[in-house]
């Protein structure tokens, strides 16, 4: 008989250097698979989290590479839910003003938030205690 140990929760302190996002993507993909998501869905979750990281680097840190943000990943295997929280240390912003561009308006940029909302079940921005923003994301594993 074997027992399976799952990584229930982990937090990464991620440098705001875009070169580090490949490592984040690999970690998220692994956890998504452990959560029970299939190949295609895991890929979409990776994309959504990557877009969230990109938004922090671009909009919260103005493209600066010398900052950090936290990525917390939590797996609830009983409920079949993957939860992620991204906490940055940039300015506090009004989440009601966050909106992607209209998709029919074809132009470069503005797709990240649309992708995040399309992929994840829950997307919630809030001000972080002490400054910065928190983005909470969750996705439920759907049984086949």
């Amino acid at each position: 008989m074997t027992t399976q140990t799952r990584p229930d929760a982990m937090t990464f302190s991620v440098p705001s250097n875009p070169a580090c996002l490949a490592v984040v993507r690999a970690a998220v993909e692994k956890l998504a698979h452990l959560a029970g998501f299939g190949e295609q869905e895991a890929g979409r979750i990776v994309l959504a989290v990557d877009e969230a990281c990109t938004n922090i680097i671009r909009h919260q840190y103005g493209g600066r590479y010398d900052q950090r943000f936290d990525l917390e990943m939590r797996l609830d295997p009983e409920a079949g839910i993957l939860e992620l929280a991204l906490r940055d240390y940039g300015p506090e912003r009004d989440p009601s003003l966050f909106r992607g561009r209209e998709l029919k308006d074809v132009r470069p940029g503005g797709l990240g938030l649309h992708i995040i909302r399309e992929v994840m079940d829950e997307v919630e921005y809030s001000a972080a205690p002490g400054g910065g923003m928190v983005l909470k994301l969750s996705k439920r594993v759907r049984s086949a």
């Binding site: 996002l21 990776v46 074809v106 797709l111 399309e118």
Partner: protein, 110 residues
């Protein structure tokens, strides 16, 4: 990491991409494509067969190129996208905006 090779053929320029087209690599791709647009290359084929990942910054770079070539009546075609890469265009509702082909040869003939 992204590797970019540009091959000039009679039918057009084939831009072969290998690796991840993400926030760190998109500026590199942008400068290659910008050069081809500046030279008013009539037909640009982006060979995506070696692309393991693309994010919205990569997609935005291709949208910018598409708009650039359309200004002088040129063409940008995407070829050999894997399922995941194609999925990013689909989720962005751009799969109908780009001319997408199964192979580079098909894109060159189109």
């Amino acid at each position: 990491m992204l590797t970019i090779n540009v091959e000039q053929r009679l039918e057009g320029a084939v831009v072969r991409l290998t690796g991840d087209v993400d926030l760190s690599a998109s500026p590199q791709l942008r400068s290659y494509l910008k050069e081809l647009v500046r030279a008013e290359t009539p037909r640009i084929i982006a060979d995506m067969g070696g692309v393991s990942y693309i994010d919205s910054s990569g997609v935005a770079t291709l949208v910018e190129c598409l708009q650039g070539v359309s200004r002088y009546g040129g063409r940008l075609r995407l070829a050999a996208l894997n399922k995941r890469t194609l999925g990013v265009f689909e989720i962005s509702r751009l799969d109908t905006v780009f001319s997408i082909h199964a192979t580079v040869e098909e894109a060159l003939r189109a």
